[in-house]
Structure formats: C-alpha cells, structure tokens
C-alpha cells in the first residue's frame, strides 16, 4: 500500500465504513432469518422443557413457605440461642400466635406442617391441632403455657430449633435428606442406620445400570456384527427383528417377562419339566434384581445395537481381508483390526444404554420387586405419593449430577469425539 495512513488503520469497504462493520451488517440479516426459522422450536423447548425442569430442580432448595407463613416468628427467633436448650421467650410465642392467626385464616398452616414434618416427625399434627385452637387462645395471658397446654411439643426446645433451622428462604435440607443426612443441632449429621436408604439406592442403581450396559454390549455386539456383515437382504430381515420391540408397547414387553419369569411361569415350568430344577425349588427370577436386569437388558438392547451397527457398517471389509492376507488368523484380525475401529460405537451405545437405564422407571417398578427398584422409583414415589417434591427434586438433581460427572469422566478418559452414532 502506497498510502501510509491505510497501513495501520482498519480495512475499509467501498463505501468508507470499516470492512468488519459492513460484514457484520451483511450477516445480521442472515442470522436473524435463521433465528426466526428455529424460533418456534426454541420457544417450545424453553416453555415446555427448560422452564418446567428448572422450576422443578429449583424446588430442591426452595423453602419460602416457612418465612412466608411465620414472618414474625422467624424474626423473633433470630435472637434466640438454640444451643442453650431453653425455650424462647414470651415475645416469640406472641409472634407465633399472630402468625398462626393469619395462617389459619389462609389455611396455610397445614402446608407448613407438611413441610416441617419432613424434618421432624409430628410437626404436621402439632400444627393441625394448634391451628384448630389458636383462635380460642387469650392474647394477654401466658401464651407459652397455653401453647404447651395445646401440645407438649411447644414446650420442647427441639421444636423451636427445627423452626429456626429451616427459617431461611433456601435450605440444604432436601439435599441432605437425599444423601441420608440431616441438619441437626450441631450441624450436618448422618441419619440413624435404620433410616438410611438413598445412598444405598443410588449405589444399586449405578451397579445395576453397569450390569445392564455390559449385558447389552455382550449380547448386542455379535448381533450388530452380523447386521453389518451379512448380505443386504438377510441383514434387513434381521434389522426388522431388532426394531420389532420398538413397535410393541413397553408395558406389553415388560409384562411378557412376568409371564416368562414368574415362579409358575414358562421358564420355571420348562426347567422343572426337564428336571433341572426341583418342583419345590423353583427359581425366583422376577420381582427381584434378576428380573430387572433381564427385562431391562432386553428393552435397552436396540439402543446398543443401533449405534454399534451404524459404526460397524462404515468399517470396510477390506481391513479384515488385509489383516488376513498379512497372516492374521480370523480372531487376531478381528481383535486387532476390527474391534478397535468399533470402539466409537461401543462408547456411543454404552453411554446411551447407561444413561437410559440409570433413570429408568417403568420396568423396575413392574418387575423389580423390592430388591430391584431404582432411585427413579423413589423419585416417582415422592412426586406422586408422599408429595415431598423438594426431596424428589433433590434426588433428581443428584442423579443429573452423577450422569454429568460420568459423562465428563468418559470425555476425559476416552474422549467424547470418539463417540459416533453413524
């Protein structure tokens, strides 16, 4: 460039604007048009997927009901020292009386009772009972004694400690609950041995999911190999057989396993008939872990076979031929040449099956009995039966975190770009 000024300055477009600016302007319209095209889907996903899930997950820490229902009590309790082991002063009882009058009029006290009952059993009935009598209390009398008369729990500092501990708008209570711990007087402490369940359920869910994934791989690999190597007509027929389960209802498939596996079922009858199993020693294969593993392996098998197949189909047969011409036996050629190239398919299939199985609900519910249920069954129980949504949300968040951590580990060890779905 002959002109010295232009050397250092930005390159200009023909109309004198900086080139970058012109380019951005030219591309903006394109980008807007593209955005408009995906907008319906984006809005749909946001409204129907992201927003409800975020709201649900938020419930795992949300605790506004306590400060909203008992605003005066919460404020009054701030000065009270729970570790001293003494009851709070009269002003706290007065505040509670005021709060309860408002709450009972709005019928909010029972909801508060259910919430606090998760942390200390008995609070629900305590609040219901108190709610019925709070109007008849004498405001000028000794409120502490009157409360104690309604229910002796009001004379127990522990009740007040629970209210104080869960008085903030956000709580870690649900998460602690989900990992078999609680917020005690001295901070976080483990629950008593006989109340622990969730850690055990998480462990079982992970273990069974690994077993199911491995079983799917062992059964699915040869099938995918056949699909990829057989002539087109035969492999298409086989592919239909693989896809057939997709056209059958999940419930029908699971129920079919009940028919096959139960103690008076087809398999046990056959084994007894052959004489392999004594009539009084029929195998228990359903309503336990075995049932869950068998039924879920069957149901998730296509999710292993399809990614494996799509990867194997891209491995040209000439590699195996080359290996054999170089002196490798069939097994060596497979193990050293074919198998390493099918690893991306194994990765994709294993991730898919594992993540599906870790959150599976219907099959363990139907065939799992007590020893074969997953954490997801517990989540469903809290959503629909115990209505402890906060705990359900906390369990869900932990499950999500476990999956993300495993995914991250997989990426670190094997590399996510090694996953191929086709």
């Amino acid at each position: 460039m002959a002109n010295g000024e232009n050397v250092s300055g930005p390159i200009l477009a023909a109309d004198g604007r900086p080139l970058k600016q012109s380019l951005a302007r030219a591309l903006r319209l394109q980008k807007l048009r593209a955005l408009a095209l995906i907008a319906p889907l984006l809005i749909f996903v946001l409204v129907s997927f992201v927003a409800p899930i975020t709201d649900m997950l938020f419930r795992s820490v949300e605790n506004a009901i306590v400060p909203d229902t008992l605003p005066l009590t919460v404020a009054a309790l701030e000065d009270w020292d729970e570790s001293a082991g003494k009851l709070p002063g009269e002003e706290v009882f007065a505040a509670l009386h005021q709060d309860l009058l408002v709450a009972v009029a709005a019928k909010a006290h029972t909801k508060l009772g259910s919430r606090l009952n998760y942390e200390q059993t008995g609070v629900a009935s305590l609040l219901r009972k108190t709610g019925r009598r709070v109007k008849r209390m004498e405001e000028d009398g000794d409120l502490a004694a009157q409360f104690a008369k309604i229910h002796k729990s009001w004379a127990d500092p522990e009740t007040w400690a629970t209210i104080k501990r869960f008085s903030s708008a956000y709580t870690s209570g649900y998460f602690l609950n989900a990992v078999d711990a609680k917020l005690g007087a001295t901070g976080i402490e483990a629950r008593p041995e006989n109340e622990r369940i969730y850690i055990f359920l998480f462990e079982r869910t992970l273990l069974l999911s690994v077993v199911i994934t491995v079983a799917c791989l062992l059964i699915g690999y040869p099938v995918a190999f056949l699909l990829a190597t057989l002539p087109m007509r035969t492999s298409n027929m086989l592919m239909i057989l693989v896809l057939l389960p997709f056209w059958t209802s999940l419930l029908v498939r699971t129920s079919a396993w009940k028919v096959l596996l139960q103690q008076q079922g087809v398999i046990n009858d056959t084994l007894v008939f052959i004489g392999l199993v004594a009539n009084d020693g029929r195998l228990a294969m359903i309503n336990n872990q075995t049932g869950t593993i068998i039924a879920m392996t069957h149901i998730l098998l296509p999710f292993m076979i399809l990614p494996l197949y799509s990867v194997m189909r891209t491995i040209p047969p000439s590699y195996m031929r080359a290996a054999k011409s170089l002196g490798a036996t069939d097994w060596t050629a497979f193990w050293r040449v074919y198998f390493p190239q099918s690893v991306p398919g194994i990765g994709a299939g294993a991730i898919l099956v594992f993540i599906l199985s870790i959150g599976y609900y219907i099959t363990p519910e139907l065939v799992g009995g007590t020893s074969g249920t997953f954490i997801s069954n517990r989540i469903a129980y809290h959503i629909s039966s115990s209505l402890n949504w906060g705990l359900a949300a906390a369990l869900g968040v932990i499950l999500l975190m476990v999956v993300l951590v495993l995914y991250w580990l997989y990426d670190r060890i094997i590399g996510i770009d090694n996953v191929k779905l086709g």
């Binding site: 000439s318 031929r321 080359a322 290996a323 054999k324 011409s325 170089l326 002196g327 490798a328 190239q341």
Partner: protein
Amino acid sequence: MTDRDLAFVVFDGVQKSYDGETLVVKDLNLEIARGEFLTMLGPSGSGKTTCLMMLAGFEVATHGQINLGGRPINNIPPHKRGIGMVFQNYALFPHMTVAENLAFPLQVRRMGRAEVQEKVQRALDMVQMGGSEFAGRRPAQLSGGQQQRVALARALVFEPDLVLMDEPLGALDKQLREHMQFEIKHLHERLGVTVVYVTHDQSEALTMSDRIAVFNDGVIQQLATPEDLYERPENAFVAQFIGENNKLDGTVASLTDSEARVHLDGAGEIGALAVSCGAVGSRTMLSIRPERVLIADSSAPNQLDAKVVELIYLGDHIRCRMEVAGRDDFVVKVPNSARHSVLQVGQTTPVGWLTDDCRALDAA
C-alpha cells in the same frame, strides 16, 4: 527358466460363479512363473479381480484347482498362504501408525521386537518413506501417494514370494500414478518377487508387465508380452482394447498361406495378414494401427481413397480423422514434419499400409 519355475502359480480349469446361474470366470488356465510380473487387464466385470481374490483366498473357486509353489491351495485359508496384497483403497489400518501397520504382519508371525523394528525400517527405506517423521504418523495424516507406498511396504515387509495388487494406483492422480508405476516396476526387478497385478488401465499394464493376460467375459482373450499384445493382437477384442485401432469390416474373398484377400464393405479389395479370420466367405474385422498408415505413399501395396474429416494438432503429431471405405472414424497419426501441411480438411488423398500391418481378425 525351468518348467517348475514357470508353474509357480497355476490356475487349472478354474471356474467361479456367485449365483449358480452365470459364470464370472469360465475355465481359466494360467501359469505364472516365479519372479514374473503378470498383469490381469480387462474392463470392469471381466473376472480379473475375482481371479485375484481366488488366488488370495477370499473367494472359493467353484471348480478347478489353484496351485502355489507346487501345492494346491484351494483349502488353505488366506492367512496361511503367505501372499502379500495391496488393496485398491490401500486398507491401511486407520487406528495404527505407519510403523504399527508395517509391524502387524511380523507380530502375527511372532517375530522378536528388535527384528520387527529392523524389518519395518528396511521396508520403509525401500519405499523412500524411511524418514523418522513418517513412522509415527497415522495413515490419515499421509498423502495418497505416501499411503500407497506404505501399503506397498506392508505387503512386502514379511518377504512373501507372491504379491497381489488390486488396482493399487487407481486413486492417484496421473502424474503420481506414472511415477509409482516405475517405482513398483523397479522394486519388482530388485526384489525378484512374483507380482500379479490387476488393472483396467492398459498403459499401466504395458508399462509394468512381463506378460499381460487380457480378460473379457470371464475368459483370457490373449496372454502375451506387452509388445506382442500391441503388435500382434489375436482377436478383435484385444485389438480394440489395447491401444488405438482402426477397424474395417469386410468379407474374406480368398485365402493363401498367411494372406487373406478381403472384400471391404465400403469399396475395393485389399490384402491382410490372416490371423483369426474364418474361411472364405466369412465376415472379418481388419485391424490397422493409426501409426502404421501411410499417406500418399505409392510404395504401399494396399491403397484406398480417404477424405480428411478432422485435423487435431497434438504437438508431436497430428491426429487426422478420415473417411475410408464408408467409415468416418479412421484415424491416422501423421508425424509433425514438413509433410503435414499437405493435408487440408475436405481434401481426398490415397492412404495405404503394408499387408503385415493389417490383421484380419474375427468379426467382433
């Protein structure tokens, strides 16, 4: 060359059918000598690759026997045949480095680590890929020509007596292909290994081979040296397939020892060398190479009138398309000398050739 050497690889009455209805290879009889470079040349679907696959052991002969080094190999699995092979797409294992690819045939033969390393290096040196930067690379990081060399080295590294090549240069550009043709040829001469090479590119076959087997329709049409194949094709297919060819159709009018008088469809009667034409009265195809046609040369015994239709300037020669005996696809290569200025489009001139240069073949 003794008889035993000549029969290093023997195809004896080999037939192959895939569907039980048509024969892809019909009664193949072929003997390949030790150290020979034999090319199977033919259009696609002519059965040449099937023959190679039967020799490698990937296809089973429907009938007949294949011998290697004196013993029948029909029932020997491919990995025990000890035959090196270069595939059309190289088939280099993508998950192994170049060095690992080359070490593979040695490792499956349970060679020691030091020996493997030495042989791999020697094989890489042999194909001019001995530089330290190549051994650790993956095949995908190499250019097409480099992949070709590695594939070649891998097929040779375990020192097989026989190497099969299935259109190994098909994916390379023209210049590289020609370069590699010479390299493979020189490698063959240096190592003395027997090579069976499959291609559909006739110039490749002519450049590299000791002998060429021209395949068509599952049958070897002619098995001969490149020179014989070009100069003395034995049937119409070979004459048409190898090199450029002018054909004139006619009927055999009379036959003496080796000369046939042929009555052309267009006009006139000319003499030709009787190769595979039938008896008097049968149809025949005359084959004359474009460079053997003499223009306006009264010394030639066979003369016909020709009309210049098109002239194409190609530097070293001029391609002249002419109308002769009713056909307008008669091509003559005129050397680029002072004479060419004589020719003008539309002009009529006598063309002629020696009787020996005009071969009377079967009517294709």
